[in-house]
C-alpha cells in the first residue's frame, strides 16, 4: 500500500492530480483511484470531523479577538484544517511536531493549552509551553529553519534507537529557502525518521506559488533527495490522514523520510495586518471556500448517515467550550515579570546581566515612587 513503487524507484514521480479519497462533492473516489489505500473507518472519520470543527471554532475565536486588537498578531489556519488535524491525528504520543506560526490549531490539537499558545501572539513571552511536555517545538518564525531541527531530533532518536518520528510543517513559500533544501537533503542522506508536510496554501503573504517554483508541483522535489514524494489533496483529511500515517510508520520503522505536499488554500489574510485585495481576486477565495475541508467530510458523513444529532450536539458543545476557554484565557492577565528577561538567556548567570537586572529593578522602584509609569 503505497503511492510509490515498493522498489523505491524514485523515478516514479507523484501524479499532478492530487491524491484524494473523498472528492470535492463529499463522495468517496472510485476504488481504482485509491492507489491501494483504504478509507479510514467511520469512527476515525467522525473523530477527524470532530477535531476539525472544534479547531475551526478555536481559530475563529482567536481571529475575532485579534480583530478586537487583543492579540498583537495571529496567522489563521482556516481552510487548512485537513492538513493540520489530519497530520496531528496520525502522530503518536512520542513523535515530535515542528510547527510554524501558521499551525496553531495543530499545536492545540496536539494538547498544548490555549493560554500557552496565546502567550506568543498576545506578546507576554515568545513560547508559552514546555516543548518537552508535549513534544511540540516552538512555532518557528524564521522560515524553513525548523525542518533541520526536526531532522536533527529525529536523527538523535534514531541514534538512541527510539522508534519515533518527527513531523515538520513548512509552507510553500518557505520551500524556496536554502534551509528547506538542507533539511530535505540531510533527512535523505541520514535517512532521518522525518515527515515533511508542505502545506501549499498557494501564497507566501502576497506572493503566489507560481513565483516560488517552476516545478509542476513541490512534491517533484522529493526525487532530488531520494525520498518518496506525495501530492495530496490538502482539503481531504481522509487522504492526508492515511498518507501521513503510512509515512510516519515507515519513518518509525527505519524507512527514512517522506515529503508530502498538501494542496490547499489560505482563505484568510496572511495575518490580521495583511490586505489580500492588493494581490488576489476574491473570486479565487470564494472558489476555494467552496472546497472547504470541513464541509467535504460533513457531506460524506451525512451520506453515510453517520452525522447523528447527538454527534452534532456534542461537537457543538465542545466547540463552545473551546471558545469559552479561549475567552477565559484572554481574560487572564498574563503574568509579566520584567526580571524574567534576564533569567533564561543563560544556564549560568552572568555578572553583566545581574548588573543590568539590578539597574532595571532600581529604575522601576524610582518610577513607582515618582508615581510614573516606566
Amino acid at each position: 500500500m503505497s503511492l510509490i513503487d515498493e522498489t523505491r524507484d524514485t523515478r516514479v514521480l507523484p501524479d499532478t492530480e492530487p491524491f484524494r479519497l473523498i472528492d470535492d462533492t463529499g463522495n468517496a473516489v472510485a476504488a481504482k483511484l485509491r492507489r491501494g489505500f483504504t478509507l479510514p473507518d467511520i469512527d476515525t472519520l467522525k473523530e477527524l470531523y470532530r477535531k476539525m470543527v472544534v479547531a475551526r471554532r478555536w481559530d475563529t475565536q482567536v481571529t475575532a479577538l485579534t480583530r478586537q486588537g487583543r492579540l498583537s498578531t495571529y496567522p489563521s489556519s482556516r481552510g487548512q484544517e485537513a492538513c493540520e488535524i489530519g497530520t496531528v491525528m496520525a502522530m503518536q504520543e512520542n513523535d515530535w511536531l515542528f510547527p510554524t506560526y501558521r499551525d496553531s490549531i495543530a499545536v492545540w490539537t496536539r494538547g498544548v493549552s490555549t493560554s500557552e499558545i496565546l502567550s506568543g501572539f498576545r506578546g507576554d513571552w515568545h513560547c508559552g509551553w514546555d516543548p518537552k511536555a508535549h513534544r511540540v517545538a516552538p512555532q518557528a518564525t524564521p522560515l524553513a529553519t525548523q525542518t533541520l531541527h526536526a531532522v536533527g531530533l529525529g536523527t538523535a532518536a534514531k541514534l538512541k534507537n527510539d522508534p519515533i518520528a518527527t513531523v515538520a510543517f513548512i509552507g510553500d513559500g518557505a520551500t524556496s529557502e536554502g534551509d528547506a533544501h538542507e533539511g530535505f537533503n540531510f533527512a535523505g542522506v541520514w535517512q532521518a525518521p522525518t515527515v515533511f508536510i508542505i502545506q501549499n496554501n498557494q501564497f507566501a503573504i502576497s506572493v503566489p506559488i507560481s513565483k516560488q517554483t517552476r516545478a509542476r508541483m513541490l512534491a517533484d522535489k522529493a526525487v532530488g533527495y531520494g525520498m518518496p514524494g506525495y501530492h495530496v489533496d490538502g482539503n481531504d483529511i481522509a487522504a492526508v490522514y492515511v498518507v501521513v500515517s503510512e509515512a510516519l510508520n515507515r519513518a518509525r520503522n527505519g524507512g527514512g523520510p517522506t515529503m508530502i505536499e498538501c494542496l490547499t488554500y489560505r482563505v484568510e489574510p496572511h495575518t490580521n495586518s495583511d490586505d489580500p485585495s492588493r494581490y488576489r481576486d476574491s473570486a479565487d477565495v470564494d472558489l476555494w471556500k467552496g472546497r472547504d475541508p470541513v464541509e467535504r467530510l460533513e457531506k460524506y458523513l451525512q451520506s453515510q448517515g453517520a452525522l447523528t444529532d447527538e454527534l452534532r450536539e456534542s461537537i457543538a458543545k465542545e466547540s463552545e467550550d473551546a471558545a469559552t476557554a479561549m475567552r477565559d484565557a484572554m481574560n487572564e492577565e498574563p503574568a509579566l515579570d520584567p526580571m524574567e528577561l534576564f533569567e533564561n538567556v543563560y544556564v549560568s548567570p552572568r555578572a553583566a546581566l545581574i548588573e543590568q537586572r539590578d539597574a532595571l529593578t532600581a529604575e522601576l522602584a524610582d518610577a513607582s515612587t515618582e508615581g510614573k509609569a516606566s
Partner: protein, 356 residues
Amino acid sequence: MTTTGVTDTAVATTSAATDAAEVPTNADKVTKKPLTMAAALNSAMRDALTEDPNVVIFGEDVGPLGGVFRITDGLNRDFGEERVWDSPLAEAGIIGTAIGMAMYGLRPVVEMQFDAFSYPAFEQIVSHVAKMRNRTRGRVSLPIVIRIPTSGGIGGVEHHSDSSEAYWAHTPGLTVVTPSNPADAYSMLREAIKSDDPVIFLEPKSHYWMKQDAEQTATPAPLNKAVVVREGTDVTLLSYGPTVAVALKTAKLAEEEGLSIEVIDLRSLSPFDDETVSASVRKTSRAAVIHEAAQFGGYGAEVAARVTERNFYHLAAPVLRITGADIPFPAPLLEKFYLPHPERILSAMSTWEWEV
C-alpha cells in the same frame, strides 16, 4: 555643520501608508509638504526608478502588495514587472542575484523584510557584497542598496525587532546608514542608490508613520555626515535611527532641569563622522551614546571607544552607553522595559561625577 529639526516620532503603527496615494513624485515636493518617512522612502525609489533605467527593485512582497510596510506601494503598478517585482522567498537568493545584476550594470535596491531575516543572506553580504570590489582590485563595484526595516517599538513578535547594525558596521566594504526623519529618509536613500558602493540602509520601522513639516527639511546633509539636530553645551547625546527622537525628548526634559544637551544624529554608522562628533564632545566634554541593540559588542562600543581615543583629555567623564540589555529582544508586552527611554538616560547621566 548642517542643522535640521526632527519632530517627535508618532506612536508606531503597522497599518498601511494612508497617504500612499498622494506620494510626491519628486524631491521638491518632499520639502514642500509634511509627509511620512514611508512616503519619503517610496518617493525616493520612485524618483530613482524614473531617473535611472538601471535601477531595479525586488524582494519578498515588494511587488503588488507594496511590501509588508507598504514602502514600495504603487511602484510595481507604475514601473512594471521588469523594474519592480516579487522574488522567490529566499534572502541569500535575493542578495546573490542582486550581486550578479550589479556586475552587469544594474543598480538593485532590495528589501530584507526584517533584520532577523537578513541573516540567511549573511554570507552573501559579508563574503561577497562587502568584498567584491576589493577582491577584483576595484574593477567590479557593486552598487546595491539593501533596505532593512530595523529595530523595535512596534510590538513585533520574536525576530521582528532586532537591530543588526553592529554586524554590518564591523564588516569592511559596507556602508551603513540610517535615517531618523522623513527628509533624511528621502535624501539618504537617493544618495545610497546613486552610490557605487553597496549600502546597508536601515529604516527605523517605528518611524515609518512619523510626519514632518516641509520647512524643517530645507538642506539635507550629505550621506556620510552626522548632524547636530539640537545644540547644547553640557552633554553630547549620540543617537541614530529610532533613538534620535528619544535623545531629543531627553534633551527637552533635561532643559527643565537646567541641563543643556546637544543631540547628534549620526546618520552614517559606517563611515563614522569623527569631525562632527569630536567637535561637539570637545565643546561639552561629556558624551553618551544611545541604541536599542544589546550593549555588549554593540555599535555604541565603537562610538565610546573612538570618541575616547580621539578626545580623551577633553573628557570630564567616561562615555556612557544607554542601550538594550544583553538579552534577546523581548516579547511585545515587555519591550518597554528594554528600550532606552529619557528617564533611563537622565539617571545614567546622574551617575557621572559632576564636580571634576
